[in-house]
């Protein structure tokens, strides 16, 4: 398969307001494969580019449940099944004493799932990405806001898309080589 030499078209904006508005207009114009880049989280921006399903909470929930079960069952198996010891006459399965570690393991697994789940869903680590080929993109981590239309969008057309993005009054427009 021949790859498109152009990865997408990147438009640069000055303010979060301009980016949110541009993202909304672009999405409304029928572009579905778009992305927005900003130096800090902007509330509602992800929704404007058509992102609605955030699976991180589910991953964390599963992690927490697995952690809690692991914690409790580990203690149960070790203390009551594999090697029961009589300590101060307490029953081998002394569940109230197992709660603390069950709790800690729940938090541990849920927290690890939150971090690594977020990174995995974001496809990180990914040290190389075509968008870094645009020199001005270095400002995306400082004070500029970018909107990208990917070249594999159904509606993408090199000239028309560029024209459309120009109508949004960006500060600059660049083609992203893939």
């Amino acid at each position: 398969m021949k790859r498109d030499p152009i990865y997408g078209i990147l438009a640069e904006f000055d303010s979060p307001t301009a980016l949110v508005e541009a993202a909304r207009k672009t999405h409304q114009a029928g572009y579905k494969r778009i992305d927005a880049y900003s130096p800090f989280p902007i509330e509602g921006l992800a929704e404007e580019i058509g992102f609605h399903r955030d699976e991180v909470p589910l991953v964390v929930l599963i992690g927490g449940i697995v952690g809690g079960l692991t914690g409790y069952l580990m203690q149960y198996w070790m203390s009551a099944v594999d090697y029961p010891l009589n300590i101060g006459g307490k029953p081998p399965h002394s569940w109230p004493a197992f709660i603390v570690i069950t709790f800690e393991m729940t938090i541990l697994f849920a927290g690890i799932s939150a971090v690594f789940g977020m990174l995995a869903l974001n496809g990180l680590p990914m040290p190389y990405h075509p968008v870094f080929n645009v020199p001005r993109f270095a400002l995306a981590s400082k004070d500029r806001f970018f909107l990208m239309v990917f070249s594999n969008d159904k509606k993408y057309h090199p000239a028309e898309t560029r024209e459309f993005l120009e109508s949004l009054a960006p500060r600059s427009i660049s083609e992203v080589p893939s």
Binding site: S15, S38, F51, D54, V100, E104, H129
Partner: protein, 457 residues
């Protein structure tokens, strides 16, 4: 005008960031400390001293490994000496970092954004210092891994009904979650450093650490969800950690330990000492690196108020201990109180009351709450007081329990002091490296506080 500014102007309070900053200038100012500002002679002297203290600690620990814990002042009946005192003290200091980063995030206290990063770093380094003590206190430290449930050839498992094993899980979970929380907070700022670094090697290192973060809206969305959930998880965690530490004592039957007030009073004490450490670090750092615009009077005031509140909870804890000494009718509990007030350790006990209860009451005076110099010294007093509190709990309770025939005294040796002061050096050395190598204020969270960050419809 931004909502936040309106609110702060109305309340006639100092804002969280001084006006006049933009995304660009905030970024410049914080990243320049790491990327372009040359290390000053003062930094080298400070780091050098801290490093030497770290070496002293390693020497003391090395000698301990050769000789065994007989070089310390611990004996029977006082088997828990400095090691446990310092462990509890350091863990407590760490708690303020998590409180600032997690609990204040959930409470939408935006002033936290300029102090959370280095408070989290403080947590990590404090937990690292804390972790040393139980590990070297076990007698045969090369077997410290026996604390963890691993399939051993002996076929035996840890004793899960003991608070000491709960502590292993609580502290190791706390260390892991604190490190992860700190790291994901750093990712976007590492990307900023990557994009601003001039040297290719610097760019490469920060680039790898930032994991290729590019600020995509989808990524931010998941990032914020994960961050918020992590804060929600860290909040009960931090409360549980010092609760479990207090169980190490409260579950035992020793007079002066066996009390139900311990968990809340330990947690409050932890936050008390932690905020004192935050101030002791923040006050010189903001002065030296010219960050008074970001760490303003408001931050100092708020931290002072937190100290005042938690200090009163701690005072309540002491009050209840004293009250129960009388009200329980238990002669051993009553004796514990008498022994604290008049026994051989009366001087540390009265100093503790002075440091933790009486002196910090000056924080009611607004003028002192906003004076960096005064706050620096009051924080020092509180840190000493909180250390004394743990000393009283550990040493004084053990020194005189039920039988007069088993009474004893505890005299710390030079190795105890060298290890303790050495960990302070290690903590400071790590802080010195941190302020030079990583952005000590969260740049992206500072951007969100600026008026221009608001999306206007």
């Amino acid at each position: 005008m931004d909502e936040q500014y309106k609110i702060t102007v109305n309340a006639q309070e100092t804002p969280v960031i001084e006006p006049g900053y933009t995304f660009g200038t905030v970024t410049e100012k914080i990243s320049a400390i790491v990327l372009t500002r040359p290390a000053s002679n003062g930094w080298f002297v400070g780091f050098g001293l801290a490093f030497m203290l770290t070496m002293m600690m390693l020497y003391a620990i090395g000698y301990l490994f050769v000789k065994g814990i007989g070089i310390w002042g611990v004996t029977i009946p006082i088997g828990w000496g400095f090691a446990i005192v310092n462990f509890v003290w350091w863990i407590g200091i760490g708690h303020a970092g998590t409180l600032i980063s997690a609990i204040l995030l959930l409470l939408r206290q935006s002033w936290r954004n300029s102090i959370n990063r280095f408070a989290e770093a403080m947590t990590l380094f404090a937990v690292a210092c804390a972790g040393i003590f139980p590990a070297i206190h076990v007698g045969r430290p090369w077997l410290a891994y026996w604390l963890f449930p691993y399939p051993s050839t002996m076929g035996v498992w840890p004793q899960f009904r003991s608070p000491l094993i709960w502590d292993v899980f609580a502290v190791s979970t706390y260390a892991t979650i604190s490190a992860l929380f700190w790291f994901i907070g750093l990712i976007p700022d590492l990307a900023t450093l990557r994009d601003r670094a001039a040297h290719p090697a610097t760019r490469m290192i920060y680039g790898m650490l930032s994991m290729g973060w590019r600020g995509s809206a989808r990524h931010w969305h998941r990032y914020e969800t994960a961050y918020l959930l992590l804060a929600g998880l860290a909040t009960p965690l931090v409360l549980s950690v010092h609760t479990v530490v207090s169980f190490d004592f409260a579950v035992g039957i020793v007079p002066g330990w066996h009390t139900t007030i311990f968990p809340p009073y330990f947690v409050a004490g932890a936050i008390y000492s932690g905020f004192a450490m935050v101030l002791m670090l923040a006050i010189p750092i903001r002065k030296i690196y010219g960050l008074e615009d970001f760490i303003t009077e408001r931050h100092l005031q708020n931290s002072a108020k937190v100290m005042l509140a938690t200090g009163l909870i701690v005072a309540y804890g002491y009050g209840i201990e004293a009250f129960m000494g009388w009200y329980s009718g238990d002669r051993y509990d009553a004796f514990t109180l008498w022994n604290r007030l008049h026994g051989p350790y009366a001087v540390p006990y009265w100093s503790l009351l002075a440091c933790n209860i009486f002196i910090p009451q000056v924080l009611w005076i607004r003028k002192l709450r906003t004076s960096p110099v005064a706050l620096f010294f009051i924080s020092g007093v509180i840190l000493v007081g909180m250390w004394l509190e743990r000393f009283i709990i550990v040493v004084v309770s053990l020194s005189r329990d039920f039988l007069t025939s088993s009474w004893g005294m505890y005299y710390p040796t030079r190795w105890d002091w060298m290890t303790y002061i050495g960990t302070i050096g290690m903590f400071l050395a790590a802080m010195f490296l941190f302020v030079r190598l990583l952005p000590m204020i969260s740049i992206f969270e500072m951007r969100t506080l600026l008026p221009e960050a608001e999306v206007k419809e």
